[in-house]
Subunit: 367 residues, 2 copies
């Protein structure tokens, strides 16, 4: 009997262990307990560990009162949605977008309005048309850099156009930006937060992609009053977030490991993205995609009529995990899939794309 091929996962948006700075984390933990034993071990308050909050505030050029540090940015999203989104509220989402955001907003009864995501970001004309039709969006959820699942980035003119629309129509822009530090080619763009003059942006990011996911530290930046409301909700939910973890992140960031860790991660991601694109062009020329400039993900569209469920199953049979395109859309996406290259080595990518191409051939022949 032939042995099963070793599984290769393009499914999980998570880093491989070799690009996590474990030694840096261990050293940061030792410093956290040595330098601030009281602050690290005590309850603290729901706004988070104060020195880290101050570091984040300085990084974004805002007052500390505009920052709330949470147990991962998903928890930040959950708090924000609980405060801002009521049953029936119109919420703009990108199409496609992160499946957990869709789930979370749907569970709150939001009236979701997906707007096409183009290669330079959300279709601003689509947003304008929605407003022209009389919709009153409360919130727009946007992943501006290296979007999940598409890998696309919102252009600067579109960032400015969205800010103008938000100011004019009273829309809160939720700038969900966990991948911002992971640009491995091209030039960084200003955050909408930094361009906002009308207090319309709430910004979220995370240390999951720059320190490690298991540390579960994320944050929100926004208008002071809104942050105070969310801080109260956070107190009632969990008293305070993890002080030990936030103190470790604080030491990691202030001790310089943050920059070296990002450099390691970006170099690896750039190499993996190139390898993935090259392998797809070689092995699966039917695949259409935009070569990403950063982040974890590649969105692959296969010819119209491709059965995504069958592709998923055929790939799994060959030991390759992918995520179906349909997971990121309320409807459609049958001929698409998301490939995460963050957790796989270059040899795994080459082997994995070979298997994926085999899976595609098998379902194309069958059809």
């Amino acid at each position: 009997m032939a042995s099963e091929p070793a599984p290769i996962s393009f499914a999980r948006g998570a880093p491989s262990l070799d690009i996590v700075d474990v030694d840096g984390l261990r050293a940061a933990a030792a410093r956290a307990f040595a330098n601030d034993p009281a602050g690290t071990t005590a309850y603290g308050t729901s706004i988070g560990y104060r020195p880290l909050r101050a570091w984040i505030a300085e990084k974004h050029g805002v007052a500390p009162e505009q920052v709330l540090v949470t147990n991962g940015s998903m928890q930040a999203d959950a708090f924000l949605f609980e405060v801002l989104v009521e049953e029936g509220d119109v919420v703009i989402v990108e199409k496609p977008t992160y499946d957990r955001t869709l789930l979370s907003l749907r569970s709150r009864g939001a009236d979701l309005r997906p707007i096409d995501l183009l290669e330079d970001g959300i279709d601003v004309g689509g947003v304008e048309a929605l407003i022209a039709e009389g919709a009153k969006p409360r919130l727009a959820h946007l992943i501006p850099n290296f979007q999940n699942p598409a890998g696309y980035t919102l252009s600067e003119p579109k960032r400015r156009a969205l800010l103008a629309l938000a100011a004019e129509h009273g829309i809160t822009l939720f700038e969900d930006d966990p991948y911002v530090e992971l640009r491995f080619s091209g030039e960084p763009l200003p955050t909408m937060l930094s361009l906002d003059e009308a207090d319309k942006v709430v910004y979220a990011s995370s240390f999951s992609k720059t320190v490690c996911p298991g540390i579960r530290v994320g944050y929100l930046v926004g208008p002071e009053k809104l942050i105070a409301r969310i801080a109260k909700l956070a107190t009632n939910t969990y008293i305070s977030p993890n002080m030990v973890a936030q103190s470790i992140v604080n030491e990691f960031c202030r001790g310089g490991a943050f920059e070296t860790s990002i450099a390691t991660v970006k170099a690896a991601l750039g190499e993996r993205a190139s390898a993935l694109c090259a392998a797809l062009r070689r092995e699966l020329p039917e695949a259409r995609f935009v070569e990403p400039e950063g982040g974890y993900f590649l969105w692959v569209e296969l010819p119209e009529g491709t059965d995504g469920d069958a592709l998923f199953t055929a790939a799994a049979e060959r030991g390759v995990q992918i995520v179906k395109g349909t997971d990121f859309l309320l409807e459609g996406g049958e001929n698409a899939c998301r490939l995460a290259y963050s957790g796989v080595s270059v040899p795994q990518i080459e082997e994995g794309v070979g298997r994926l191409a085999g899976a595609y051939r098998s379902i194309s022949v069958a059809a």
Copy 2:
């Protein structure tokens, strides 16, 4: 101008830094990153860090599938209430009880039915009377050991009586037990979880009082199906709890620091409780209280007609923080207060009780 007296807080239910094993935590953190770098730094899943989950399961003699490890036990409560408590559900609470539990249940629209807490625990006759009147309690929230705020402990016969009522009337008993390890006199009692034969108990505890509060690690133990439902809710809320913190706790527990830390904490708490009771008998003989056998808190009742608001203010003016009795009750408690002795040294206790007695004299004279 006379200098302000140094503040003394009997308000916060938290340990003083001298009884936190900071060196043990630092060593546990180093081992966590060294022994399991992958498990410590990766996302993990919502059930928590598996080795710690296994340790907790073994401690309670249950299957790991019955355990969910969370970001502190307040978060565990929030998940449990979200799954079990609907608007209008009858929920039994102790009178008095932990203020945050009242707040959390009230915000879910629970129909709260406070039942008197006696020196040997909740008035079981009161629970029976409530049921006899036709109420159909969905849940009973109980803090069995060294209750917050009263410091009282539920007797074993009452534990068995509550289990029988729960089985007969389909009531879920929420055994909220963060102080169980902190018994400094008397004999430990079996948990209701361990006596339950009808799958009616959901048990919560925490490492806040045995490791440190800033680590934010708590857990639920309950019927496997219920735990699976809560795990799904946890996934949708935050993907996974803090793996770094849970891996540190795992190393702390498995490396033996858990036992030595508990011994340190218990010795200090026993000494502080004795000092507090002795000082009260000496300085404020009007105070009625039950000398606690463990935990953090002493519930002090002053003569009927004492104005608790005035006492709170007069104490604060003398640099002593207490918590008003009214905070722990839907109504009543004006002549009571909660004194936490967990965060104060013996000299602070003696000085603080002197000031509190002065505050009491000042409002008694005024009245």
